[in-house]
C-alpha cells in the first residue's frame, strides 16, 4: 500500500467517523486555489474544514503531529477562499483528524477540534 492509498483509506475512515458523530458531510477533496480541503462537514450549524492525516506503522511522529505552522497557514487561507466561494456566513473552524494504522491495519484516531484556537488573525 503506497502513501496515496493510505491517504485515501484514511479519508474514507474519517468520513465514516464524522458521520457516526452526526455530522453532515459536505464534500471531500475540494480543490481551491493554493490548496485542497480533505473533508468539509457541518457540525450542527458550524462548518468544519477537516485536515485528515493518516500514517501507517513505523513512522516516528504520530499523524496528528505532522501539521506545522506552514500547513496551518495554508489551511486557513484555503478555508477562507472556500467559505467565501460557497457564501457561508456562519462560524467555521478547522479540525485535525490524525489516523494511525496499526500492524493489522486497525486505525487509532485522534480528533483535535479547532486547531487555530483564535490564535491566527482572521
Amino acid at each position: 500500500m503506497d502513501h496515496l492509498e493510505t491517504g485515501r483509506l484514511g479519508e474514507s475512515l474519517a468520513e465514516r467517523y464524522f458521520r457516526g458523530k452526526g455530522w453532515v458531510i459536505v464534500g471531500r477533496n475540494i480543490r481551491v486555489r493554493g490548496g485542497e480541503l480533505d473533508l468539509v462537514a457541518l457540525d450542527s450549524d458550524e462548518l468544519v474544514v477537516v485536515e485528515v492525516r493518516t500514517r501507517s506503522i513505523g513512522k516516528i511522529l504520530p499523524a496528528e503531529e505532522t501539521v506545522g505552522p506552514r500547513k496551518l497557514r495554508i489551511l486557513v487561507r484555503s478555508g477562507k477562499i472556500y467559505v467565501e466561494q460557497c457564501r457561508w456566513t456562519g462560524p467555521w473552524r478547522i479540525d485535525l483528524l490524525g489516523i494511525n494504522l496499526d500492524i493489522d491495519g486497525s486505525p487509532r484516531m485522534v480528533h483535535l477540534p479547532d486547531i487555530t484556537a483564535g490564535r491566527i488573525d482572521a
Binding site: 462560524p91 467555521w92 473552524r93 478547522i94 479547532d114 487555530t116 483564535g118 491566527i120
Partner: protein, 503 residues
Amino acid sequence: MGTVIGVTLKGIEAVPIDIEVEITGGLFVIAVVGLPDAAVKEARERVRAALRANGVLLRGRIALNLAPADLPKVGSLLDLPMAVGMAVESGAAAVDAPSLFLGELAMDGRLRATKGAVPAALLARKMNVPLFLPPENAREVSLVKGVRAFAVPDLGALLAHLRGETPLSPLEEAGVETVDPPAEPDLSDIKGQSGAKRALEIAAAGHHNLLLVGSPGSGKTMLARALRGILPPLTDEERLETLLVRSTLGMRTRNDRTRPYRVVHHTASTIALCGGGASLRPGEISLAHRGVLFLDEFAEFHRDLLEALRQPLEDGSITVSRASGSVTYPARVLLVCACNPCPCGYWGDPLEPCRCPAHVLERYRNRISGPILDRIDLHVSVPRLTPEELVCLEGQHGPSSGEIRDRVSMARQIQQERWKKEGFLSNAEIPERLVRTGIRLAGDVRPFLAQAARSMRLSGRGISRVLKVARTVADLRGNPDVRVEDVCEALAYRGGALANDRT
C-alpha cells in the same frame, strides 16, 4: 452605557469601561480593541479557557470593544467583564441591569484576587450598580459602606446567578475592630529621654513632623518605633483613604484602625518613595498616608529625594506626571526623621569627642536643606544617657504607651471637633488662612510671639507652624485658648537640634 461594565485604574480612581461584544461568522478569533495592554490582550486565552470550562463554547469572529476607546486599559481585572460580555452575546447568560464586574480568571473559571477592588466599590456606589468581585477581595470591599457587592467563587456560579438559577447572596458589611496598636517598645520601657517622649506625644496628637537628632545608640530608632504604639485610631474616613491606596496596589488589608507605619531605607529611589514608574503606582509616601513615614539615617538619603518631599509635605497630596498621564495620590504623612548630628556621630556628645573636621561637618549639614527643616515642626535632640542611668534597673520610666495614647486620642478628638466644619482632621493640616482666624490666642500671646519671631528669625511658615504645634500642646493640656506657655513649648522644638548648631 451598556450593561456589562468593567473598570480600569487611573491613580486611585476607578474608571468605568463599557464592554461591547459582537459575534459574527467566520474562523474563530477574538479581537480586542480599545487600547488594551499586554495583560488585557492575553485575557483572550484565559477567558476562552474559562468559558469553555463552564460549558460556553465560543465560535466565529468575536470583536470586543473596550470603551472609551482612547483610554489605556491596564491589568488583568478586565478578565471577568470580558468573559461575561462574551457569554451574554453568545446567549449563555443575560445581564438585565448595568453591573460592574471585576476579577482575573483562572483557566478553569475560578476568580483570582485583583488590585483596585476598593476603588471599584466606590465607583459602584456612585453609579448605584451591583458589583461582582473575586472572593479574596471581598474582605476589603465589605469595609466600604453602602455597596451592593457579590463575591463570585467562579465563572460558572456567576453565570448561574445571571441566569437566575442559583442566586448569590450579597456581601455583609464588616464591622471595624479597634485593636490597640502594638507598643513595641512601650514608652515606659525607654529610660530617660523625657523631652523626646513629650515630642512624640505632640507629634502623634497633632500629626506634626518630627526630627530626632542624636549620637549612635542614643535610642532614636527605638523612640521612632515607640511612636507606633501611641498613634490615635483611624477615623472611618481616614480608614477608607488608607484602604484605597493599599487596594490600588493589591495589598492585603486589615479591618482595624491601626495607622500605617512605613519605614523607608535610605537606598530608596525617588519613584519608590513618591510614586510613578512606567505603570504609575503610588509610592511609600502614599502608603503612609494618615500614618507615619519614617526615614532613618535621614542625612544619607539622596538630596533630590528629600527635596521631592517638599511639595507633598506642604499639600498633603502628590501629583505624579508622566507621559502616560498625571495622577494625584494622597500623601498626608507624619514624617519622622532620625539622623546623627555629624558624620562621626558624636558632635555635642558629653563623653565622646567629635572627630569631624569643619568642612566635613559643613558638607554633612548641607545635605539637609533649609526648606526641608522648615517643614519639620519638632526638632528634638536625643542625648546619650550616662552609664549610671543606663545600668539602673528601675522598672517604670514615665507613663506607658497606653496612657499616652489615651491623651493623644482625646486631643485628636478635640481637633476633629474644632475643624469639622472645614473638613480637617488634625492641627498639622490646616491651611494658612485658618491658622490666622481659627486658632484663638490668649491676650498676651501676640506680642510674645512677635518678639520670639524676631530673635529666632522665624519665617512666615515658621510662625504658622509654631502656632499649629502650640495649638496641639494646648489641646493636650485641655486649654481652649493658646497661652504663652503653649507657644513657649512649641518654640522649644523649633530649630534646635541641627540648625542652630551651625553658628
